[in-house]
């Protein structure tokens, strides 16, 4: 099963085009990501989108873009029940720290963004494990960059892999495709991450992690505490 939790959502027509292309290239589930301002509008045409797409399952990710820690917390609490996945765009150290410490957030997206380092260290990694916050790496960051900048992004990936192998925090790989020009086949996607130094089993695990996030969030409201879930059937 191939899951992509971050495909940039836009209009209905564009979403349909992207989803059909993704289905053709072997993806089984995609999440369209919207920021906090567009998320409500996107929910309005979700049913319509559902009717148009038959080959591939889809859902919405709320992608929070903010530099204010309190704002992130408030937005998370506001949308927690409406979004199947909540991710926060990282890059700022304060944001990275606040996100990995927040159990209500699912994904810290691109902790290396606009930085000279990976944006993660052993402290943040341990917090990510404790609060089950996944770290997301985007294919588009490599695709859209070139030469020295691309090399630096790849170097940041390698640093994150090192921490991942030691601390085993959840890792999510996504494309963050904006148009049909950014979507690749699942095999190409895997080949690319293999070339950057990730093992085949680690890549498979990252798809599993994406699936687990969606599964977990379906039952999140029934969770009393970690590991304890309220069940309705008496048998």
């Amino acid at each position: 099963m191939f899951f992509d939790l971050n495909i940039k959502g836009s209009s209905l027509n564009n979403n349909v085009k992207l989803a059909n292309e993704a289905a053709k290239y072997g993806w089984s589930h995609i999440n369209f990501s919207y920021n906090q301002n567009d998320f409500k509008d996107a929910l309005d045409f979700k049913d319509e989108l559902n009717e148009d797409l038959s080959d591939i399952s889809f859902d919405y990710t709320l992608e929070i873009e903010s530099t204010n820690v309190n704002e992130i917390r408030k937005i998370t609490n506001k949308f927690r029940n409406k979004a199947s996945c909540i991710s926060v765009v990282g890059g700022d150290l304060k944001i990275n720290r606040a996100v990995v410490e927040n159990i209500r957030i699912d994904v810290l997206s691109r902790p290396y963004l606009r930085r000279y380092d990976s944006g993660l260290n052993h402290v943040l990694s341990k917090e990510a494990v404790r609060n089950n916050v996944a770290i997301e790496l985007c294919f588009k960051d490599v695709l859209r960059s070139y030469l020295s900048h691309r090399a630096k992004v790849l170097s940041n990936f390698a640093d994150i892999y090192e921490l991942y192998r030691k601390f085993d925090f959840p890792l999510v790989l996504s494309s963050r495709a904006e148009s049909v020009f950014d979507i690749r086949t699942t095999h190409d996607f895997i080949s690319f991450f293999k070339q950057t130094g990730l093992g085949e089993d680690e890549i498979a695990k990252s798809f599993e992690t994406s699936k687990d996030i969606l599964e977990f969030n379906k039952n999140r409201d029934k969770m009393i505490l970690k590991g304890v879930r309220r069940v309705d059937d008496e048998a």
């Binding site: 490599v142 049909v180 020009f181 690749r184 086949t185 095999h187 996607f189 690319f192």
Partner: protein, 118 residues
């Protein structure tokens, strides 16, 4: 005078990749050759690309859809370097200022078998 053909045991083992190409401007086969070599050299470097044994075997044109030109091609590469070639081609992003997307939709051991992906 042509060189004598190598015995099968000394020949290189090839794999044939079927590529799906989308680009904003029209291209010809020669331009695809440049794009493929540039993509491989950029991501894998000159030293590694030397091992790939790249060759564009066939080039197919399809009709323009949704604002982009659509092509398919069969490209030969050496058996042990398929992953390297695939990832390099996937990272091709622009050609002459126009957006391009190359993705591998099929992999096989013969040209004939790779044509079923066209």
């Amino acid at each position: 005078m042509r060189l004598k053909v190598l015995p099968p045991t000394l020949r290189k083992n090839n794999r044939y990749l079927t590529l799906d190409i989308k680009i904003e401007s029209p291209i010809v086969k020669e331009e695809l050759v440049t794009i493929i070599w540039d993509a491989c050299i950029r991501f894998q470097g000159e030293n590694n690309t030397a091992n790939f044994n790249l060759w564009v075997m066939k080039f197919f044109e399809f009709e323009k859809i949704d604002g982009y030109y659509h092509y398919k091609a069969i490209v030969r590469c050496q058996r042990d370097f398929v992953e390297e070639v695939r990832s390099s081609l996937a990272l091709a992003n622009k050609y002459n200022g126009n957006r391009i997307a190359i993705t591998t939709i099929g992999l096989s051991g013969t040209i004939k078998a790779s044509q079923k992906f066209i």
